[in-house]
């Protein structure tokens, strides 16, 4: 229940983030006991590179506190959307915070909105969508994969988010989003292999006042088909962007400095001493950054469009 509003202390049943380093974080559920491989209830011990953590010891700890591992320490944090995305169990490809940020921003989400999402996948985006529209908004999220639907459903309940979200198993390309959602949504998000097959269904689900539709696709052919459909369905302001986040590693760099000026004239004893007796010399220490040698060069294209209100649509 640690996803709905900030809290000070870790309680049993919370999902927490164990922070060891930016590239070494884990999410774990605070349950004192767990089932082992043989199905027997045993003490819940979490293994990290710095040794073991007795999970029960987290209960009552302050969020943000340092906790001991058997060979080091870690920090226990309350999950934010971003931390959850970085640590969640992957059941599919997921969308990460840089793209999520643009998606939430471009869909112009605010508390109270009704949003449709498909497919649910691993629920990475779903958590961020819920965060943006709670407390009085609602997310309807669809996936045709039975297990992903049921795991997502359990996850939302565990996280205390079930009031804000409905998960449903459905092939949205074949059967749309259901009659109950017609005229209900003010934002619709698509992340599935054939987004263009859902546009007609999606269009029906928008409110009379229209709204924003966003589609995330790795391939440009998917984007082309989707844009064509969007245009003929009466969407306007259709835009496609891609955004890559580049991490810069701050570091000290010490660079040698050549001294060439002094070569122009004969040495006096003075400048010989300055340079430690050498003719060239000197080091400069700089704060600078290094760029990643290898990094994701592509995640997906974000296509975003506006559906005008009824009566102002061109089709």
């Amino acid at each position: 229940m640690s996803f709905n509003g900030s809290k000070d202390l870790v309680e049993e049943g919370d999902v927490v983030i164990l922070y060891i380093a930016p590239s070494n974080m884990h999410s774990l559920e605070v349950t004192p006991k767990t089932l082992n491989k043989k199905g027997i209830l045993v003490e819940n011990v979490f293994q990290t590179v710095y040794g073991a953590l007795k999970v029960a010891s987290l209960v009552g700890a302050k969020y943000g506190a340092k906790v001991d591992l058997s060979r080091g320490w870690a920090y226990v944090l309350q999950p934010t959307s971003d931390l959850w995305t970085l640590t969640l169990p992957h059941r599919t490809q997921i969308i990460y915070t840089p793209d999520i940020s643009n998606i939430v921003y471009l869909m112009e989400l605010e508390p109270g909105d009704t949003v449709i999402e498909t497919g649910t996948g691993s629920g990475s985006l779903s958590h961020a969508l819920i965060n943006a529209i709670k407390p009085h908004g609602h997310l309807y999220t669809f996936d045709f994969h039975e297990q992903r639907v049921s795991v997502a459903d359990i996850e939302f309940k565990k996280h205390g988010l079930e009031r804000y979200v409905t998960v449903e198993q459905r092939d949205v390309c074949q059967t749309g989003f259901g009659d109950a959602l017609e005229g209900k949504a003010n934002a619709i998000f698509l992340d599935l292999p054939h987004p263009w097959l859902t546009i007609e269904h999606a269009t029906r689900c928008f409110r009379k006042s229209g709204g924003r539709l966003c589609s995330f696709s790795p391939c440009i052919e998917q984007v082309q088909r989707t844009c064509e459909k969007l245009m003929s369905a009466g969407f306007i302001e259709i835009k496609t962007i891609e955004c890559l986040q580049r991490e810069l590693t701050v570091q000290y760099k010490t660079v040698p400095v050549l001294k060439l000026e002094c070569l122009k004239s004969k040495h006096t004893d003075d400048n010989r001493n300055e340079n430690n007796g050498k003719e060239v010399g000197g080091l400069e220490r700089l704060v600078t950054v290094s760029h990643a040698h290898s990094l994701p060069g592509h995640t997906g294209y974000i296509t975003i469009a506006t559906l005008p209100p009824i009566g102002r649509r061109s089709c």
Partner: protein
């Protein structure tokens, strides 16, 4: 929530005026005009009409580019109407561009415009008098018509302002006015600050027309419990883009706007001591914070504070994205602060001393900060951010994120090094983004020719015990 009929334009509202791909922010007054490119539009007809209404620009008097607005449902499309009736060439082998293909002179064209001819008539004439149009390929004819359509388009649509639209207007017009906050950077700033409907958030902004605070207040939402403390370094906060969102009173009241020096001094020294030290007993209505030094390269802002000019009578926000416009239309915040200053000066000095609003809000913010730690902190600084983050971290809760934006990398690098030494800051990361948009058309999909490389830098981290 917002169904169609509820959203009617009222005097005092801000609206976005859209003419094709061009958008402009406008404050609705009873008899206001709007300058759109070189065209003057009388805006009063939009009052009482719903958002999303489209109007045709009707020339009012011949000889001047002054228009009234007529509500319309139909929008004539030049490209569709004109193109279908004309033949076209197969390729461009016979096109010679010697600058003489258009036989109408510039004066002729201006004449047509001033005679109040419709855009269809004008462009029809242009095509008639073009030696090369009929030889152009269908594709380049369409491109030509699109270009002409843009120039002569006579329809506007009134839109409700959104963060996306107003950011876009300002970023295109004068990105420095909003601290060069590019759309993706602003989006990430919002994500990393953790802002949502629940909790207390703090934002320091040294001058971006109020865009970051406005975007955060939008995320906090209407009818929720979320609160925002909006800190600024100057005498008068920049709030244009907060006002531009037409937030309901209830939502605006959950944002406290305070001067950062006053806030910190009052927090540590108490109200009495604070008023003593700063020598402005509660009778003074203006805030004369003695340590304001705006070390910024934003000359616009410094100018605004230092040289008040006569405010314009017309309350209008001018945000231009078209190059033909002159830059004198651009002053927005200047107008606001000047207007306020004059009002303060005009106030009779013998009025009974009343607690000024800034003092009440500062006290309120201090009271909140004494009992509650913030759930997220965002800093958008033109100054060096190190002292700002050091000053504000004590008010952030542990296990909560902070994010700092700067348009240059070096100040964030230095801040990174300094914060890295502390044992209570983790997950420090420095980012820059690459953003590019694409033209998606059948057989003609490619990245857009122009992109923006002014995304700035973000430093992100968490406070711990």
């Amino acid at each position: 929530m917002n169904e169609l009929d509820a959203e009617v334009v009222k005097v005092g509202d801000y609206v976005v005026v859209q003419r094709q791909n061009y958008y402009k922010l406008h404050k609705v007054t009873a008899n206001g005009n709007l300058l759109l490119g070189k065209d003057q539009l009388e805006m009063s007809s939009i009052i009482g009409r719903p958002m999303w209404t489209t109007y045709k620009m009707e020339a009012k008097v011949t000889g001047k580019r002054l228009y009234t607005l007529l509500e319309t449902k139909e929008v004539e499309s030049l490209s569709k109407d004109l193109k279908s009736v004309l033949p076209s060439g197969l390729d461009n082998r016979s096109i010679i561009d010697d600058g003489t293909s258009q036989q109408l002179s510039t004066e002729d064209i201006v004449g047509l415009r001033e005679a109040g001819k419709s855009s269809k008539e004008i462009v029809g004439k242009l095509i008639e008098n073009s030696k090369t149009f009929q030889n152009k390929t269908e594709y380049s004819q369409a491109k030509y018509l699109k270009k002409k359509e843009k120039k002569y388009f006579e329809y506007i649509t009134i839109r409700k302002p959104t963060i996306r639209l107003i950011q876009d207007i300002y970023f295109r017009m004068d990105h420095q006015k909003i601290s060069s906050l590019r759309m993706d950077t602003l989006a990430q700033l919002l994500s990393y600050s953790g802002v949502n409907a629940d909790g207390l958030y703090m934002v320091y902004d040294s001058g971006s027309q109020g865009l970051p605070a406005s975007a955060m207040l939008h995320r906090i939402g209407a009818g929720t419990n979320g609160k925002l403390i909006h800190m600024h370094p100057g005498n008068i906060p920049q709030r244009t883009l907060i006002q531009a969102m037409n937030f309901p009173e209830e939502q605006l009241r959950r944002m406290l706007t305070v001067n950062i020096y006053s806030l910190i001094r009052m927090y540590y020294q108490g109200t009495e001591q604070f008023l003593e030290v700063s020598k402005y007993k509660a009778k003074s209505d203006t805030l004369n914070v003695e340590c304001i030094v705006l070390e910024s390269n934003d000359t616009d802002f410094t100018e605004d504070v230092a040289n008040p000019k006569v405010p314009k009578a017309e309350a209008e926000v001018k945000a231009e994205g078209i190059t033909e416009d002159n830059s004198s239309n651009r002053a927005v915040n200047s107008f606001e602060s000047k207007g306020l200053k004059r009002k303060l000066k005009d106030a009779p000095s013998h009025e009974p001393p009343k607690k000024p609003k800034w003092l009440i809000e500062t006290q309120e913010a201090v009271e909140i900060m004494k009992v509650t730690k913030a759930d997220g902190l965002a800093i958008i600084a033109k100054e060096h951010p190190l002292n700002i983050i050091k000053g504000l971290l004590p008010f952030l809760g542990i296990s909560r994120p902070f994010v700092i934006y700067h348009s240059s990398r070096e100040p964030l690098q230095e801040t990174y090094v300094a914060l890295k030494q502390r044992s209570d800051v983790i997950n420090l990361r420095l980012f820059a983004n690459f953003l590019r948009s694409h033209q998606v058309l059948p057989d003609r999909t490619h990245p857009d020719i122009l992109m923006s490389d002014t995304g700035g830098y973000l430093l992100y981290g968490y406070l711990v015990d």
